[in-house]
Amino acid sequence: MPVDPITVSVVQHRLHGIVEEMGEAMLRTSYSQILNSSRDFSTALADPRGRLVAQAEHVPIHVGALPFAVRAVQAVFEGRIRPGDVFLLNDPYRGGNHLPDLTAFVPVFADGRHLFWSINRAHQSDIGGATHGAYNPAATEIWQEGIRVPPLRLYDAGTLREDVLDLLALNVRHPRDFKGDLAAMIGSARLGARRLEALLGELGTETALEAVEAVLDGAERRVRAILAGWPDGVYRGEAVLDDDGHGRTDVTIRATVTKRGSDLEVDLSESDPECAGFVNSSYPNSYSACVVALAYLIDADIPKNDGAFRPLSMKVREGTVVHPREGRPVTLCTNHCGQEIIEAIVKALAPACPERAMAGWGRRFRVALKGTDPRNGRPFLWHLFQARPGGGASSAGDGWPAAGEWQAAGGIKFGSLEVHEVRFPLFFARHELRPGSGGDGEHRGGPGAILEMRIEVAEPAVANTAGDGVRHGACGILGGKDGAPHDYRLRSADGSERILRTKEVGIVVRPGDLLVARSGGGGGWGDPARRSAAARARDAAEGYVQEAPEGGR
């Protein structure tokens, strides 16, 4: 007799409660700015076949990649997994997204059987390699990007393998922070395991397992019902990266999306060849980007589990930028070209589902700064999270102002400027919306932001950049215009100005230099001629479209 439908519903709610509680614990306990501010982590439950059972709504780009990681761990340790074990992994050629995303796995047992994994994937503030902060635009092979961790046993039936932990900690720049974040990750995964074991005990293992199957099937039915409503056809979309940081420009992602019945096949094999620099996307990351595109086009409340993504398949060709050969650098891929994969797919499908498709969200352009704080003589490492780009417009309305990129979509908190000024030798002269940056359309793209920040060091500091989007803005769709691209500059006290490129290392920042970052706006949705007079009047009155004269300080 099949499990009763009520139990299925209860199990779905309970699974969701578990991953949310894991995420909450992680958010509050993680040590690094990149985790607690940018929330760059995910919590999930999966079964030993790598099927995702539940995932908290944290980082979309992690979702589709986790199954590959589970299968990689299973492949190595199958038959040798015991209660109390904890495994780690980060290698993008073995189920990771990119090296900074370290994943912790805690097995969940019931009746002596290994039935599930409780998982936490979190972006480390440093993972070793040639540059601080994990992003190395100069890298031409993965070994320059950091330490590679294959499926690895960290706890053996409850006992920490201290030598293994020391090996890892020794290979990153801030071992204490690394250990603090790792403790938070493992704590979060263990919490999930405990709660899931309690649920299995309460319902009985067999009933719970059947209910999980039904939860997955339910999500699949919902997605298929939506896809079935779109016209069958072959749809094409393209998105273009500025460059690979090593001289190649306009790296193009080509998506051919075939929609038939309730199935969706995304063929990325016509995309450009792999690059010398770190914009290549690992296979799990490329698949995950396809998953994100689909997740954005269906209903937001559909659980992100294995069932929901069964209708999706991906085709890639080895040697392309979306499936590089092992050894290529990939660190930027969760942003770029991950975002361009999402964009190409959404653009392709816009004519099939115009009410669901959204215009492009901004691209990522990060700056990592390393120097010494003259107030206390201590070294500091700072990541730029301010100046979020604008969100894309949709059928529902204008885009969100300064809400971030495709793959984050309002999930990154830039934090208090006052706290930044206490903590770092930085002075925020200006941080406001950037009028005129959102793409025009029936619905306008959200504006990006303007940041003017003085770097108050006594000795020169060093900056690295990592990102894209100074040539190509966020795409408009269905007649809407593209958002303005990014424009970042470093202005010195003597008035000289240097335009920052998106993939640079070793930029010398002189004492008192001003970083002027004007982030891109979101893309517009629909023909600008259809924008209402009332909306245009409001844009003008509130100053969303008129670029103000270079005011402020």
Binding site: E21, A184, G392, W400, G415, S416, V419
Partner: protein, 682 residues
């Protein structure tokens, strides 16, 4: 002398009077949303009648009135507050709209952005800048300030918020701005961030200050009118208002800090919970208030309610210390549906009061939790709401029948399923306020409030391993009564960012002492000269964490020589309690110091206990569904004799609620006529 508590709810205004002997009187009047004071005066007339007095005599004999009002809350919820202008540091006018880059639902990219409380053209930069260490980088520029004020005058703003960067550290520019505003925009109220919330983190401070400016005029108008009406009716004593942190404040204080009234709605329930804790000597409670559209859940530990500083209402961040209440979208009116995947979902959509559940017969066709309760036999169609309303069973059957067909289940299974799903959601809600705050709820008693709670608490408690439930007889009366037992309370906070080991303990003591002095001064200004109690809290974190942990400093002897070490140790312990680990080799950072200065008001005399008597038999039996159909006795809550026990399965009904006892539950009737229920454990 008499004390009066007044709780204005959405439908009714409850008025409770306690005389010198402890005898309790209650009256109810329809609420008057256009001007709540009319309903209040009406309620007072009815109370006088119940006490065999005329209203003037009642008010002349009254020594204190405590009032809970939703005026500020409604102004924010309905977006009917003042037209606010915001003055802020030049270059930073969009803090409110940028929301620190966050958006609520990460996967919903089709959600339109929220409309900021102050539109962009009314957010003006002023040339000035103070640095993080308090030094003035750019002096306040009078020309820039006057130009901005002129602009606000043209725009006819009704209230002004001022929030400059680092005003938590040095408020001189904000104060000078107020002086200019008083001169150039006389009569327009001004809210300074350095007074509303002198704490680091500009988004929280600015948003809270804007909310303050937004609701203040409406609240001031209302309370002014109420006071006038009360004076005219013959009342000469103080009018105290419930605040978001669960204490009471004078009208002058609450108007000054109007944002502190916004979250005061559920404070009456918490006041009632504290009253229950006192009466039953059960200091650990989870108040659980289940209404039509939502359930409010909180935590009372050791007789004290938890407070939090990160509440939101209607999308607005309010960072004042407030009772830590989690509101989840699950109530009696929550709508059940089967999604395209064939999975039963209940809520968060609600049928509300209008049309309400299908069984209300007001045109609702969707199945709700209440419809399921009726079909399971838990509700009596003829006696609902004390017999004032007849429930339509056929309508409920049609509505739930659609769910049953979609699930390929029979009617009772579908109805029981709706119950199980909503109970699961509510149990997750209890976990939010307990487990996720580092508290194990198993030692707590669940306190059932609200019409719908009685049918669900037993199942919710079981899911959480809780073994005790308390159901008060007249929850609304208890809220108003609980208000009478609330103390005057002033909450003060200051940021003082420093690594704990770099602090000087005498400096820290001086900082706390300064806040304490200010709190005492405010109490004296309110005419209070009774006993004062002080609570101290420090908000702390490790290095780069961004969330602070509130560390209770009361257990630490204040003059101890190793004060800083003790504070650090308390932080490590609390961190471990909350998050399962601590990093004792790291020096924590202290961010905010908080002081609550409490003016203790004498509790109202206790209600005389009702005598025990012979057990009262059930007034009937009904067929109810629990796994299968069974016969259960039905008792009348009002008629029960103190000391009587009732074993589940059974139903206990009153005019305002029905309580379901499941098999194994045993209820004892207390001297107050409440149900004290013990669940089987293990």
């Amino acid at each position: 002398m008499i004390r009066i508590g007044i709780d204005v709810g959405g439908t009714f205004t409850d008025v409770v009077g306690v005389d010198a002997s402890g005898r309790l009187y209650h009256a109810k009047a329809p609420s008057t949303p256009q001007d709540q004071s009319l309903g209040v005066l009406d309620g007072l007339s009815r109370l006088a009648e119940a006490m065999d007095l005329d209203r003037a005599t009642l008010l002349a004999r009254t020594e204190r009135i405590v009032h809970g009002t939703t005026v500020a809350t409604n102004a924010l919820l309905e977006r009917k507050g003042a037209r606010v202008g915001l003055l802020t540091t030049e270059g930073h006018r969009d803090v409110l709209e940028m929301r620190e880059g966050l958006k609520d639902d990460r996967y919903d990219l089709r959600q339109p952005p929220p409309e900021p409380l102050v539109p962009r053209r009314l957010r003006l930069g002023v040339r000035e800048r103070i640095r993080a260490d308090g030094r003035v980088e750019v002096p306040l520029d009078p020309a820039s300030l006057e130009a901005a004020i002129a602009r606000l005058r043209e725009e006819k703003v009704e209230s002004v918020a001022v929030c400059y960067l680092h005003a938590w550290r040095d408020a001189r520019h904000e104060r000078a701005t107020r002086t200019a505003l008083e001169r150039l925009l006389p009569g327009i109220p001004v809210s300074l961030s350095s007074e509303v919330l002198p704490q680091i983190k500009e988004f929280e401070r600015l948003s809270t200050t804007v909310v303050n400016a937004y609701v203040q005029p409406a609240l001031a108008r209302y309370l002014g009118r109420l006071e006038e009406r009360l004076r005219a009716a013959g009342y000469a004593g103080p009018v105290l208002v419930m605040t978001s942190h669960g204490g009471v404040a004078t009208i002058e204080e609450i108007v000054r800090l109007a944002a502190g009234a916004v979250l005061s709605g559920p404070a009456g329930g918490i006041a009632a919970a504290r009253q229950v804790a006192r009466v039953l000597a059960a200091p650990d409670l989870v108040p659980f208030d289940m209404g039509g559209t939502s359930t409010d859940i909180a935590l009372v530990r050791g007789g004290r309610a938890s407070v939090a500083a990160d509440r939101r209402l209607a999308g607005q961040r309010i960072a004042l210390s407030s009772l830590d209440i989690v509101s989840i979208g699950a109530g009696g009116g929550s709508i059940a549906r089967v999604d395209e995947g064939g999975i039963l979902q209940v809520g968060p959509e609600s049928a509300g009061a209008d049309p309400g559940p299908a069984c209300y017969g007001r045109g609702g066709v969707q199945a709700t939790v209440t419809d399921a309760d009726l079909l399971l036999g838990y509700l009596d169609a003829e006696r609902f709401a004390g017999g004032r309303m007849r429930l339509d069973r056929d309508a409920a059957e049609r509505a739930v029948g659609r769910i049953a067909r979609a699930l390929h289940a029979d009617l009772a299974t579908a109805a029981a399923g709706i119950q199980r799903v909503i109970d699961t959601k509510m149990a997750e809600g209890v976990r939010l306020v307990s487990v996720r705050r580092g508290v194990d709820p198993r030692g707590f008693a669940l306190l059932a409030f609200g019409g719908a709670a009685g049918l669900h608490v037993s199942a919710v408690a079981r899911q959480l391993g809780m073994s005790r439930i308390v159901v008060p007889r007249l929850a609304s009366v208890l809220s108003a009564y609980g208000m009478l037992a609330s103390d005057l309370r002033v909450e003060l906070a200051r940021s003082h960012v420093a690594e704990a080991h770099a602090l000087d303990s005498s400096e820290l003591r001086a900082l706390f002492a300064e806040l304490e002095r200010e709190g005492r001064a405010r109490l004296s200004a309110a005419g209070f000269d009774g006993p004062v109690r002080v609570h101290r809290v420090a908000d702390m974190r490790y290095g780069e964490q961004i969330f602070e942990v509130a560390v209770d400093l009361d257990p630490i002897p204040w003059e101890t020589p190793d004060l800083l070490e003790r504070i650090a140790a308390a932080f490590h312990r609390r961190h471990e309690e909350l998050y399962t680990y601590a990093l004792p080799d790291r020096a924590p950072v202290l961010v905010n110091v908080r002081v609550a200065v409490v003016g203790e008001l004498a509790d109202p005399p206790e209600e005389p206990a009702r005598p025990a008597g012979a057990p009262v038999p059930p007034r009937g039996r009904r067929s109810i569904f629990l796994d299968g159909w069974c016969e259960a006795p039905v008792f009348d809550l009002e008629a029960l004799a103190p000391g009587q026990t009732i074993d589940g399965p059974a139903l206990v009904e009153s005019a305002t609620t029905t309580v379901l006892l499941r098999p194994g539950d045993r209820a004892r009737v207390t001297a107050e006529g409440w149900l004290d229920i013990v669940l089987p454990t293990g």
